[in-house]
């Protein structure tokens, strides 16, 4: 037994060393998350319009089409808790920051009342949550949750080992201002049946814990904006026709009420809803709710227009 235990401990030690080395070596290979973190650090006093949130923005906002000094810090699958942490850590240091834009996620508003859309063919996205969480934790240096979220080996379902032999230019997927392009040409044939909304039954009781959690995080961002004298814009992103069919009108009302609640506490909050915007056509969508490169241009121009029309930027430097 002693020999067995000794050997097991020795083997575990070697494995711990090997896995530890892999984790640390991965830190030295650039990726989209680390690029965004470095950009934020080095341009902290240059950013005027900051886009937070998840893939709706990461793949939907061309910061170069918004305004000089715009940056897309959104990243796929990001939980709102990370955005709140960014607000807490950085907003007070960002001397030129004027507008912060965050997408509202319809699917989050199920608050325990929804079931997966039976038509949705996108599989395994739930299993990827820990991967996204880990990337934000490790590379954006946002310590939300327990420390073991840091480890890619424990949490990530991405093919992180491929980064060791991948061309360094391929490992950063975004452009210089944080936009990740989804080309129409690479869209799958059943694109409309991917990323459909959950079917939400509003007659069921709301899970108040998750509701409050989401509300508090958004409120944190709004308050950090208020303290820094920054405008806060909440956006409901465009959705495809098939997605719209499964959108529950009651939930949309709840979203409006939700925003009004935030606006009541922070007057600097603005809201715009593009869910039913008819300017977006089939070719603008990569799946039911993410935009292609064509859609991203259209959407970015619309956001810019909203910012300009509502005077969210200070007049003297407005284009």
């Amino acid at each position: 037994m002693k020999t067995f235990l000794k050997n097991i401990c020795f083997l575990a030690l070697i494995l711990f060393f090997v896995f530890g080395s892999i984790e640390i070596l991965l830190l030295f290979i650039p990726n989209t998350y680390s690029y965004k973190y470095n950009y934020l650090k080095t341009h902290i006093n240059d950013i005027r319009v900051l886009f937070l949130g998840n893939s709706y923005f990461e793949e939907g906002i061309r910061a170069d089409l918004i305004e000089k000094g715009s940056f897309n810090l959104a990243s796929s699958g990001r939980n709102i808790a990370f955005d709140a942490e960014i607000a807490r850590q950085y907003f007070s240091q960002m001397s030129r920051l004027e507008v912060v834009v965050v997408p509202l996620d319809y699917s989050v508003f199920d608050f325990g009342r929804g079931v997966k859309n039976p038509q949705d063919k996108r599989l395994g996205i739930e299993a990827m949550a820990s991967s996204f969480w880990c990337m934000n934790y490790k590379y954006l240096n946002l310590h939300v949750g327990p420390f073991w979220n840091w480890s890619e080996i424990l949490n990530s379902r991405f093919n992180y080992m491929s980064r060791f032999w991948q061309d360094r230019s391929e490992s950063v997927e975004c452009d210089s201002l944080g936009y990740v392009k989804l080309e129409l040409g690479s869209r799958v044939s059943d694109w409309e049946c991917r990323s459909l909304p959950p079917i939400i039954d509003t007659s069921k009781p709301i899970d108040f814990l998750s509701y409050n959690n989401y509300y508090q995080n958004l409120l944190t961002i709004a308050k950090c904006c208020q303290q820094a004298g920054v405008k806060f814009l909440l956006v409901n992103t465009p959705k495809s026709e098939l997605y719209q069919k499964d959108v529950n009108a009651n939930v949309m009302n709840e979203i409006s009420q939700f925003v009004k609640r935030i606006q009541a506490e922070c007057a600097n909050t603005f809201y715009v809803d593009y869910t039913y915007d008819t300017d977006f056509v089939d070719s603008d969508f990569y799946d039911a709710c993410h935009l292609t490169d064509c859609g991203a241009i259209k959407f970015s121009v619309k956001i810019r227009h909203f910012i300009v029309m509502n005077n969210l930027l200070k007049p003297k430097i407005r284009r």
Binding site: M1, T3, F4, N7, I8, L11, I14, L15, V18, F19, I22, K121, L123, G124, A127, M128, I153, L154, R157, N159, Y160, M161, S189, D190
Partner: protein, 480 residues
């Protein structure tokens, strides 16, 4: 709790330590195994522990009653019958009630009657078919006087709920597992080390091969309309590899894990894809279930020692039940009937002998004939798995017809070949090690006689498994 989870990696060393160092007495070890097993199962849903406890209690007390009424054959029949009905009743309610209700409603609707029958909204308890069959085998064996009933309820509970094999087998017999809980167990270094190796190989098959294949199978299976026949065939082969690696991987982990506790479980897979005919395939695939059906259904029905038509009807009955055991869906029944049909054909042709037992196979594959036979068997098995994997019979039919009709059609070939390469390497290793209990049983083969080389292999496999694992999937056989 899943074997391929962080929880289990923490759970196992704790249980191992307490089992060998704290609870040294046999009775206490048995009790500890029951507690650990209930934690293992309850991690998924503690409410269903009641079902295991009820099944265990019924079988335990029916064993005692069978002994009590030793001379009263009628009472013995009633006791064993009642226990079988109760256990199968639980299984029926949780697994088949909605299936049969829905089908009856459909049948009567087609006949012009409207039935207003209530269906129940209940989830299928993980591994219910496995532990129910294990419990049934005990009662039947006691009834047949093959084994004396145990008076120790703790060791019986340990036998039913032993965590490595609780949720997906191997389905153990009381004659082999129960005596192991009745004697003192000693730690055996060689056995424990080989158990660890077997677990490692099981993890490789499950996490590296099966999960990587699963990613593509789950992604493309429902999109069969967009692929050419050759791609669909490749997809069916991927599922064939996936289900083997998933299930045999689980069995390897279970057997290896049990060996750490001084318990030997039955071998459940014997490299089935190297079989040269379908009867041989079924002697090497899910051995514990197949022998269960043989001993408790096929032979009591008359087996093969009866008229030909009766023999064939026995095969059809057993395989229909076997199909249904796998799930409440017509696809499984069709899959069972498909294999029954193949077995009958092989039987008629007299091609049921295994080349395993002959020297020719053990010395290596000498004849092209053997290669062709193995290839044909594999091909037939792949077809069966299409029925097994499909959501319904119509999908299976469309999948198969498209596969044939467009076999040489459009060049839209599934591009992801990486899992096929991984599977090919895994099968090659298994082929080289086919005479062993598992593929990592190599300590007597040079250069693995050298400890350093062995350790390098262990570390390399662990790193590859951890770093190149597929998206974590639950074990396919959990649903059965």
């Amino acid at each position: 709790m899943l074997f391929n989870s962080i929880e289990f990696i923490l759970f196992l060393p704790i249980v191992f330590f307490l089992y060998w160092f704290v609870f040294k007495k046999r009775q206490v070890q048995n009790l500890f195994i029951v507690v650990a097993s209930y934690i293992f199962y309850g991690w998924w849903d503690w409410r269903f522990l009641v079902l295991i406890a009820v099944t265990s209690c019924c079988s335990f007390f029916s064993g005692l009653l069978l002994k009590h009424y030793n001379s009263d054959e009628r009472a013995r029949k009633s006791v064993s019958g009642a226990n079988i009905v109760l256990n199968l009743g639980i299984l029926f309610v949780f697994k088949y009630f909605n299936f049969f209700t829905d089908n009856f409603i459909l049948l009567f609707r087609n006949l012009g009657f409207h039935l207003d029958v209530v269906t129940i909204n209940v989830i299928l308890p993980v591994g219910i078919s496995f532990y129910t069959f294990q419990a049934l085998s005990y009662t039947i064996d006691v009834y047949r006087n093959k084994i004396a009933p145990t008076h120790d309820i703790v060791e019986f509970f340990a036998f039913i709920s032993f965590f490595p094999q609780l949720v997906a087998g191997p389905i153990e017999r009381a004659t082999s597992l129960l005596p192991q809980f009745q004697r003192e167990r000693e730690f055996n270094y060689a056995d424990a080390v080989d158990g660890m190796r077997q677990m490692l190989w099981g993890f490789l098959k499950k996490v590296l091969v099966a999960d990587n294949c699963a990613f593509y199978v789950n992604r493309y299976w429902d999109l069969y309309d967009s692929f050419s026949g050759i791609s669909l065939f490749a997809l069916a082969v991927l599922f064939t590899i996936q289900i083997y690696c998933d299930f045999s991987g689980y069995s390897d982990i279970a057997i290896g894990c049990a060996r750490l506790f001084g318990i030997n479980l039955k071998r459940n897979f014997e490299f089935p894809y190297f079989s040269n005919n379908i009867p041989e395939f079924w002697r090497r695939w899910h051995i514990s279930l197949m022998t269960w059906f043989r001993d408790y259904v096929y032979i009591p029905l008359g087996g093969s020692r009866c008229a030909k038509w009766k023999h064939y009807s026995n095969i059809i009955v057993v395989w229909s039940i076997s199909g249904l055991w796998h799930g409440a869906n017509w696809t499984f029944v069709c899959w069972g009937l498909y294999h029954a049909f193949l077995l009958i054909i092989y039987n008629i042709l007299g091609l049921t002998k295994s080349i395993h037992s002959s020297d020719g196979f053990r010395c290596g594959l000498k004849l092209i004939n053997d290669i062709l036979k193995i290839g044909l068997t594999f091909f037939l098995v792949v077809f069966g798995w299409i029925l097994f994997r499909s959501e319904n019979v119509i999908q299976a039919y469309r999948f198969i017809s498209r596969m044939f009709l467009t076999f040489f059609d459009c060049p839209h070939i599934m591009l992801e070949k990486q899992p096929l390469y991984i599977a090919a390497i895994m099968l090659l290793v298994e082929w080289l090690q086919r005479e062993k209990q598992h593929a990592l049983q190599f300590p007597n083969v040079y250069p693995f006689t050298l400890r350093t080389i062995r350790w390098i292999v262990y570390i390399a496999i662990t790193v590859i498994v951890v770093c190149f694992r597929g998206q974590s999937q639950t074990f396919i056989y959990f649903q059965f």
